[in-house]
């Protein structure tokens, strides 16, 4: 074995270091042109929720296409450019993990996407229970997790450092009911008394508690709070009592079966409050109106999003048009939230200028997207210290002429809110 002189040593190691450094830079440069930035999407793609998973997938793929291809006339984050400008124009790529709607599978898929597919950030997972476990995998590994559409308030109360939620949660949904009433009072309506009617399992009882809390903190009198077991055989006692307590409006957290009975009992009693607001989704409309017909008009419901806001927000119509051309159907509220979440994550990765998780996390914390660049009825996106978008809100819709119409916030409304609802004999 020959002796290595100092000069030889310096020369060889110098060359090695230089070549490694140069090679890295070369690789970096090459990657900027070639390798896309990988984001892992963890969603229920098969199983009972597959239909919703498919809508989310369509929405996320549209968002990725908007990032990767130039859309010069769309006022959305990263639409005008091709790829991620601060990363040398690298493209965005989504790899999919199928949760099958199961929390344990969700976590395993999140792990797989980071470990084997090289995901630098994760997005997911629709159901609150699955989001909870999948984001646990991200938190343990120090990978940012963006959640666009889970509504359990607890998700952002866990003290996680890597978890961000763009969409509203269940408490927000109750807040918008009271915000709408505040707006009505500013217009001169006299409203001070509220009654609550809810089914008594997790969904209804929780919503009733939140509604009571809001009512009390905002100075309303809670005239009655009635819980029942669903399916009820009768709601006459509940509604007689609520009517006797003389509320200005009623907040309901009810299943569809209950909603039909409530409507019929109110009609039988010939009574309707100024407003009746319910926690209920859009999907129930045809069923509900089939069962109650015109008697179901004037009920108000909260919703995270509605295509109806397109009338006042042309950007929504443009994006929906692209979506429909690509996927053959209109966007629904889940798709709209997933789309917005993906663009928010892409915007953060771009501003991070790096694929290092810590840099993306920092960029997410500094997110400040204006409402004008969103298809949501929000003021914008800015995360609070818990990772919750402080501007996330929803819309209030009212059943008018057999359809849900957006009636609040007033600046995105497509129809005039009917308040107070007309009495039964004038319908």
């Amino acid at each position: 074995m020959g002796r290595v002189t100092r000069r030889q040593f310096l020369r060889s190691t110098g060359a090695a270091v230089a070549s490694v450094a140069l090679g890295d830079r070369l690789v970096d440069w090459a990657f900027a042109q070639e390798a896309p930035v990988t984001v892992g999407a963890v969603y229920p793609l098969t199983g009972a929720l597959a239909r919703i998973g498919a809508a989310i997938r369509n929405a996320i793929e549209l968002a990725v296409d908007i990032v990767n291809s130039p859309y010069p006339d769309l006022n959305l984050p990263l639409a005008r450019t091709a790829g991620l400008p601060r990363l040398g124009g690298r493209r965005l790529r989504v790899v999919w993990g199928d949760t099958r709607g199961d929390p344990a599978t969700g976590r395993a898929e999140a792990d797989r996407l980071v470990e084997r597919e090289g995901a630098v950030a994760l997005i997911g997972s629709y159901q609150s229970a699955v989001t909870a476990t999948a984001s646990l995998a991200a938190e343990a590994r120090g990978i940012p997790f963006l959640n666009p559409e889970s509504s359990s308030p607890r998700l952002t109360e866990r003290g996680f450092k890597w978890f961000f939620r763009t969409g509203p949660h269940d408490i927000t949904f109750t807040r918008i009911m009271f915000d709408m009433v505040e707006d009505l009072k500013r217009r001169g309506a006299r409203i001070s008394r509220v009654a609550i009617l809810a089914e008594d399992s997790e969904f209804g009882a929780t919503a009733a508690g939140v509604a009571k809390g809001f009512a009390q903190s905002r100075g309303y009198t809670v005239t009655a709070m009635e819980l029942y077991t669903s399916p009820p055989s009768s709601l006459t006692a509940e509604l007689l009592r609520i009517r006797a307590s003389n509320p200005d409006f009623v907040i309901g957290a009810n299943y569809l079966v209950d909603a039909v009975l409530i409507t019929r009992t109110l009609k039988e009693m010939r009574w309707f409050p100024q407003g009746f607001m319910v926690h209920a989704g859009f999907t129930t409309v045809p069923d509900y109106l089939n069962a109650v017909g015109r008697d179901g008009y004037y009920f108000l419901a909260r919703a995270p999003w509605a295509l109806g806001i397109a009338r006042r927000k042309p950007l929504v119509a443009r994006v929906n048009e692209l979506y429909r051309r690509k996927h053959g159907a209109d966007m629904d509220e889940v798709a709209a939230r997933a789309f917005t979440g993906m663009l928010t994550l892409a915007d953060a990765i771009n501003r991070a200028g790096s694929t290092a998780p810590a840099a993306i996390q920092k960029a997410l914390r500094e997110t400040n997207l204006p409402g004008a660049q969103l298809i949501m009825p929000w003021q914008g996106i800015q995360f609070d210290e818990k990772g919750q978008n402080r501007h996330a809100t929803g819309v209030m819709v009212q059943i008018l002429d057999g359809e849900y119409k957006v009636v609040w916030p007033f600046d995105v409304a497509e129809a005039e809110l009917v308040w107070p609802a007309p009495p039964w004999d004038r319908r």
Binding site: P231, S234, T236, L240, E268, D287, D295
Partner: protein, 288 residues
């Protein structure tokens, strides 16, 4: 306040009549052959679907569906007896419970498979209210209440005045003696199933104009039907009527006056008290 109490009482009576009609068939089958049919409310659910589909597809008004739906369900009850219940009439109680509980699952999840989890209801725009003792009550509910009374009257007359009715009672009272007298006990049992399920179907037909149907809707009525039978008394058809009325009144009056959240607490507290103090029920005979 008086008005509120009055309104609660009147709608409680109407509601009680509906509960009684649902309980009637349960009471009959229970009384005749001592078999508790846990699937009773599932037949109610199926009859509601049948009436709904006749209305939705054929525009048949629910009241006009009676001559179709009720005989079909009579046949269904008869068939259920022949196919399943006949094998467990003299089996241990646990076997009877498992058999009818299994039947409940088959019917319920069959409905899920056939109709999906959606909720259906019949909507008639002209539907009005009728003043009953000064209280407005939905016309369809009043109809259901009257039908309930008529069903109880007819069944009582059938049992008391017809030969078949008397044979049915004999089979209920003592199987062996009835057999010795030449009464076809097996056919009597089948008849009681046919009649029992037919009255459940009758309840379904008249429920659908003011109540909605989904595969799990039986849950809303099954326990109340049991309570009606036990409160009113076994072995007497009018027991279910008295029991149903008691429950409707208790539920509505105490629910409205005290708290609706606890309305079934009151009902089932009365149920337990009845079991402790008078286990044979309000009208029941001690001998049975």
């Amino acid at each position: 306040m008086t008005e509120l109490v009055w309104q609660a009482a009147v709608s409680g009576v109407v509601l009680g009549l509906v509960y009684a009609l649902v309980a009637l068939g349960l009471s009959l089958i229970w009384g005749v052959m001592d078999v508790v049919n846990l699937a009773h409310a599932e037949y109610l659910m199926l009859a509601m679907y049948a009436t709904y589909w006749l209305w939705a597809l054929g525009r048949v008004d629910p009241a006009l569906a009676v001559p179709v739906v009720v005989p079909v369900f009579f046949g269904l009850g008869w068939l259920t007896y022949q196919a399943l219940v006949r094998r467990i009439v003299r089996a241990p109680l646990a076997a009877q419970i498992f058999a009818t509980f299994g039947l409940l699952f088959v019917l319920r999840y069959g409905a899920f498979a056939a109709f999906g989890p959606n909720v259906y209801g019949v909507w008639r725009p002209g539907e009005g209210t009728v003043p009953v003792l000064g209280v407005p009550v939905a016309a369809s509910k009043v109809t259901a209440g009257l039908v309930s009374l008529a069903a109880f009257g007819l069944l009582a007359a059938f049992l008391r005045y017809t030969k078949t009715g008397k044979a049915l009672q004999a089979a209920a009272q003592n199987r062996e003696v009835a057999l010795a007298l030449g009464i076809p006990v097996d056919r009597m049992y089948a008849l009681s199933w046919g009649l029992g399920i037919a009255t459940a179907a009758l309840a379904g037909v008249f429920l659908i104009p003011f109540y909605q149907v989904s595969p799990t809707i039986g849950d809303a009525f099954l326990l109340l039907a049991f309570a009606s039978v036990v409160l009113g008394g076994f072995g007497r058809v009018d027991g279910a009527l008295v029991g149903g009325l008691c429950i409707g009144l208790l539920e509505n009056l105490l629910g409205t006056l005290v708290s609706p959240t606890f309305k079934f607490l009151f009902v089932f507290a009365a149920f337990v008290a009845m079991l402790l103090v008078r286990p044979q029920g309000l009208l029941g005979d001690v001998g049975r």
